[in-house]
């Protein structure tokens, strides 16, 4: 991938993505180490994602496959965060702002790929996850992991171009790949795309994940709430008005007798 290809015709950065081809990965772990260096992560490189490992390489069924934030196009974590500490940049990177976060951990609970991690041992922890090297990618550079990958198993570039590339690879060598691009439709589509030589569920990837963008599940309810307030308010207010009026008349029948309209003087008749 050339640097030019990460820009659209107008010069604006195109939504970036990663293509991870598990059939090319040799499990050297260069990407995980480069990521830690890029983000200045201390602590040990854990076997699974953690506050000190934004990405890991895991072996399943004789194949190495990376795990990292998928950078959903409609990210669940961004939709659930009450204080917008998680945002999706125009370039497609889903980034986190520790200064805004209040630590409700809804993002950790809600992410369909179980990516965000928490630093439980800290008194006031931060959420940890891959940020698609937004400082590099928003300037048109590659991510640290794709930059160092000796096998070209991880490449970065505009998502559209990567999808094309993935399709071409499957078409040219159908025996090598499972005919599926993980991330094309998962959770409504993700910026990270994965190709595998063994069935995805065996490769340790959650294939049960919904194809619909998950924020829709809650938005369907939330968007109705203004109507609940409006109709509920009118209903409660009206009912209270009717009931309380009747109760008042019951208590003071003389009030009710005052009310009936007196027959209006017939029209045209002058007093």
């Amino acid at each position: 991938m050339t640097l030019e290809s990460t820009r659209t015709a107008t010069g604006a950065p195109a939504p970036v993505g990663l293509l991870i081809d598990a059939t090319r990965c040799i499990g050297c772990g260069e990407c995980a180490r480069a990521c830690r260096a890029e983000h200045g992560l201390a602590g040990e490189l854990t076997p699974d994602l953690s506050a000190s490992a934004y990405t890991v390489v895991r072996e399943k069924e004789g194949q190495f496959v990376r795990r990292l934030c998928m950078h959903c196009i409609d990210p669940t974590c961004v939709s659930v965060c009450p204080v917008a500490a998680l945002r999706r940049l125009p370039g497609g990177q889903v980034v986190y702002d520790a200064d805004a976060c209040m630590g409700c951990r809804y993002c950790i609970f809600a992410c369909p790929f179980d990516v965000p991690r928490y630093d439980w041992e800290k008194p006031f922890p931060v959420v940890a996850k891959c940020d698609l090297c937004h400082r590099r990618t928003s300037r048109g550079h590659q991510t640290a992991c794709s930059f160092v990958c000796p096998m070209g198993a991880t490449v970065s570039g505009p998502r559209g171009a990567l999808l094309e590339e993935a399709r071409t690879r499957i078409r040219n060598d159908p025996g090598r790949y499972v005919d599926h691009i993980f991330g094309e439709t998962e959770a409504g589509g993700t910026a990270v795309l994965i190709l595998s030589g063994v069935p995805f569920d065996l490769a340790g990837i959650n294939t049960a994940v919904s194809k619909q963008p998950l924020p829709e599940t809650t938005w369907r309810v939330l968007e109705k709430l203004p109507y609940v307030v409006l109709n509920g308010g009118i209903f409660l207010g009206g009912l209270a008005w009717i009931i309380r009026r009747r109760m008042q008349f019951q208590r003071h029948p003389e009030l009710a007798e005052d009310l009936p309209v007196e027959p209006a003087p017939p029209k045209g008749e002058k007093p």
Binding site: V83, M102, G103, I108, L222
Partner: protein
């Protein structure tokens, strides 16, 4: 809410004579009334074993509090990345909000729908709701990883987030409750002019409270709609918001019964049989309605089969349903409904049932997916017990200080047999 508004409308019913006081009691003057503007002073009638238990709970709670804020969540909880929410979300927040729901529903019934018979319990329910929501907010401080950023919801907006909506509704509702609670303080000090002004906005205030409660009670269910693959099928339902709302309604009424009954013991006052019976009817209807929605939902989703799969979730679900179905069956019997002890028992079961439901949805329901074995740590449990104890103590204090149950003394007065010996003397 005029000072004389909550008159004793039910028939005073003598209960068990001279129950031991559980709550720190405050002295009263000879007429049995807290003196005007006289600060209550502690009365040492509390039996010492209770005092000892309360003391230990408070001291240990302070110690755990210090540890939690000094060392962080990892040091005191069993939470993990697989189970990021535990007892503090499930009990302190979800149950706390649900159990305090009596505030808005009783207020709406009295002030909007004219259930005048319930008027005498309005002060106690307002007090419970207010204290309940204050406790929920304090509980949140423990649970949030960065509690000092809590105020960010005021300046950083994300209208797509259910949590954002819940936060705003709870804040606004807490303000409504604070105003309603201030009426109790005004009554205590007989600030008639302020009370009159407040009386004029009562109806809009109660409507606002009811709407805000409807929103956030249901939204606590909506929170879990975002995890379709993670929450076990018995609980994951598009109707979660409705279910949370109606179970909150039911448990709100159950709590009012529960609390009236216990207060009758603790404060040596008479129990209004009429009110309890009225509430028993309402409780029965709401519980039946909730159970109806639950059944209908399982049927509509074709999940009835999951009721008979032998696994841990199934038992937990049945436990929750049984804790609601048994009291409903009890209350269907007219004789039991007329018996305040049986009504109290069924209300207690409903409270337990809704607590189990909230823990099921927030903890048990995600066990299988997460593959983690979360059990709350002793420290987590002790914080929940600590906060609940603080709530009960605050309730006891406020009841004495604000003279919450004094409306009854104005009327026929408590049955003499019910007066505690210390006070009768």
């Amino acid at each position: 809410m005029s000072p004389r508004s909550h008159r004793n409308l039910g028939t005073p019913l003598p209960l068990v004579p001279t129950p031991p006081p559980l709550i720190l009691s405050l002295s009263k003057d000879a007429s049995g009334r807290a003196g005007f503007l006289r600060l209550p002073r502690w009365n040492l009638t509390l039996p010492s074993p209770w005092k000892l238990v309360v003391g230990i709970v408070l001291a240990w709670g302070c110690w755990v509090t210090a540890r939690r804020f000094w060392l962080g969540l990892g040091a005191v909880t069993h939470l993990s990345d697989r189970m990021p929410w535990g007892l503090w979300v499930g009990f302190d927040v979800l149950c706390g909000v649900a159990l305090a729901a009596g505030g808005f529903s009783v207020m709406a019934m009295v002030h909007l729908f004219g259930f005048e018979r319930l008027r005498p319990i309005v002060p106690a329910t307002v007090l419970t709701a207010f204290l309940g929501y204050v406790l929920v907010s304090v509980g949140l401080l423990y649970d949030l990883g960065r509690p000092y950023n809590m105020w960010h919801v005021f300046i950083m907006h994300n209208p797509r987030s259910v949590m954002f909506e819940v936060a705003w509704c709870v804040i606004l509702y807490l303000s409504v409750l604070a105003i309603e609670f201030s009426a109790l303080v005004m009554e205590r000090f007989r600030w008639t002019r302020a009370l009159e002004m407040l009386g004029r906005i009562t109806v809009p205030l109660v409507i606002a409270g009811a709407l805000l409660s409807t929103l956030h009670q249901s939204s606590l269910g909506t929170l879990f709609l975002i995890v379709p693959g993670k929450l076990y099928t018995l609980w994951y339902s598009p109707y979660l918001p409705l279910m949370f709302f109606f179970s909150a309604l039911a448990v709100g009424f159950a709590m009012v019964i529960f609390e009236s009954y216990l207060s009758a013991f603790a404060f040596g006052r008479s129990l209004e049989r009429g009110i309890i019976r009225e509430l028993a009817h309402i409780l029965l209807v709401t519980v039946l309605f909730y159970l109806g929605i639950k059944l209908q939902d399982l049927f509509a989703r074709g999940a009835l089969g999951a009721l008979f799969v032998p696994r841990m979730e199934t038992w937990c679900f049945w436990l929750e349903v049984a804790l609601l179905a048994v009291p409903a069956a009890m209350l269907l019997d007219e004789r039991l409904r007329a018996d305040e002890h049986a009504t109290f028992l069924s209300a207690t079961l409903v409270v337990l049932g809704v607590i189990v439901n909230r823990l099921n949805v927030s903890i048990v329901g995600t066990y299988a997916y997460s593959g983690a074995s979360y059990m709350p740590s002793f420290e987590e449990l002790s914080v929940s017990v600590f906060l609940t104890t603080l709530g009960v103590l605050a309730f006891g204090f406020a009841v004495r200080f604000l003279g919450i149950f004094e409306g009854h003394d104005n009327g026929d007065g408590p049955t003499p047999a019910l007066q505690k010996p210390a006070e009768a003397a």
